[in-house]
């Protein structure tokens, strides 16, 4: 039971949902910021929206998600620096709120 709670907690921490506040959604400018920020990490990094998942290192994949104002997405990273990577990418997306 304790094990379950811990796992659940960990998952809650890692899977932070971000609501897209930017009027223009996740278009070329914010997408390029994300791709460039990914270069400093070695983890695999993805953006997840519903059933779709995009490699955050690919501008084309990010734009193909068609993320628009009001969408809810999750940053998912896998690797040694996953936690830092998720925080950094999430903060870029939130910082682009007025773009």
């Amino acid at each position: 039971m304790t094990q379950y709670v811990q796992l659940h907690y960990k998952k809650e921490v890692k899977m932070k949902t971000i609501k897209i506040l930017s009027e223009n959604g996740l278009h070329a400018r914010p997408a390029s910021l994300i791709v460039n920020a990914c270069l400093e990490f070695e983890s695999e990094i993805f953006l997840v929206k519903g059933d779709t998942k995009a490699n955050a290192r690919s501008i084309m994949n990010l734009m193909a998600m068609g993320i628009v104002h009001g969408d809810e997405i999750v940053v998912e990273a896998d690797g040694a620096d996953a936690v830092v990577a998720e925080e950094k990418i999430a903060s870029i997306i939130e910082g682009a709120a007025h773009d």
Binding site: E23, N24, S32, S58, M60
Partner: protein
Amino acid sequence: MFKKLFKNKAVQMNTPIVGKVIQLEEVPDQVFSGKMVGDGFAIVPTEGKVYAPIEGEVIQIFPTKHALGIKSTEGIEVLIHFGIDTVELKGEGFTSYIAAGDHVKIGDLLLEVDLEILEARGKSAITPIIFTDKKQYKSFDVSYKDVLKNDSVCSITL
């Protein structure tokens, strides 16, 4: 002789838009001129029509229809971003004839854009054409000139 036989494969790309081909560095948006999205070139359109420059599959068209991506049969991803800051028009003035997953042939009409609406809204129609993944090609050679429909504009070495 063997050098010639084994030279790298080159893919010819037609212009997607009728207009004037310019250097990417001349685009009045740092995201593109600074090559943050990738390398390529740009076109100053004289017509509001976008044709498939290369045969391949439509990867995406952004919900606002101002940007679309094609993956060529050879595996090169090309982003066509019509105008600067045109995401803010939210689709106004843009008519799309394609959807993600469509197979397109060179010259297929992909998008129509009302250039008068862009002008009235104060948006530049300068259109960056970007190769978004540099791992997919070795080099490319652009013809910087005025181009008409079906004119070759770029040779990409794989």
